[in-house]
Symmetry: C2
Subunit: 122 residues, 2 copies
Amino acid sequence: MKRLRPPSLDHAFAALADPTRRAILSRLTRGEATVMQLAQPFSMTQPAISRHLKVLEHAGLIVRRAEGTKRHCRLAQHGIAAVDQWLSTLRAALETNYNRLDQVLAAMPAEPPKHIERNKQR
Amino acid sequence: MKRLRPPSLDHAFAALADPTRRAILSRLTRGEATVMQLAQPFSMTQPAISRHLKVLEHAGLIVRRAEGTKRHCRLAQHGIAAVDQWLSTLRAALETNYNRLDQVLAAMPAEPPKHIERNKQR
DNA sequence: CTTGACAATAACAAATCAGTTATATAACAT
DNA sequence: ATGTTATATAACTGATTTGTTATTGTCAAG
């Protein structure tokens, strides 16, 4: 029951937040791999990896292909596309804001704050 | 300066995994806003928003500017750049794998599985 | 049909998270 | 000084996450 519902950004970003899962994805950029092959580099039990893969699949970041008792995993575009698309909005805004920064800086000396906050940093 | 250590991908992706925080970022694409301005659209208390902002700042996704008792927040490029850079690897791999897919599909009928997995979907 | 390899699931513990209310701090206004 | 506004912090709670071990299901080989 693959159901293939729209992988929420919640799930996609949450999946990417874990270093083990990102390492698994990095490994998969070098091609398909079975669960055992993916588990081998990690000092972690197989069930742990299985659950990481479940999270990745659920996030639309990987897909699995069954072959005998083995499950071959590979990258999926679905989740990454969703993430990418959402980020593009931020990217665009950052560029725009960066362009606007000149104006902001130009406008600031005209209205100096009455108290400069005590500098606690460093 | 802000100490500006490399915002870990863990923190950046984890910050992006929350819908409230993404909504805050979306709001910030329309320009700077104070904490109260950011809190207003949400049915959530101010301390909750404050902590979300802390997470976003820690992830390098926003920066804050003090002005009186107000804190003006705006998008930061730091965290987004980190995320973007990491994702570019995946993007590249996906394209490569997609190109390879033809070969994979061409190679598959040559070695038909002895048992086709029972189709449970739909 | 039994065995062994591959993978998924269940049950559990420790850690983390996202929200709450209550309180503290800091600047501004009176 | 006092009150008000804007924000941060503390302490707590319930839900979620990440790992573990033990078990189960499936297939392929003999």
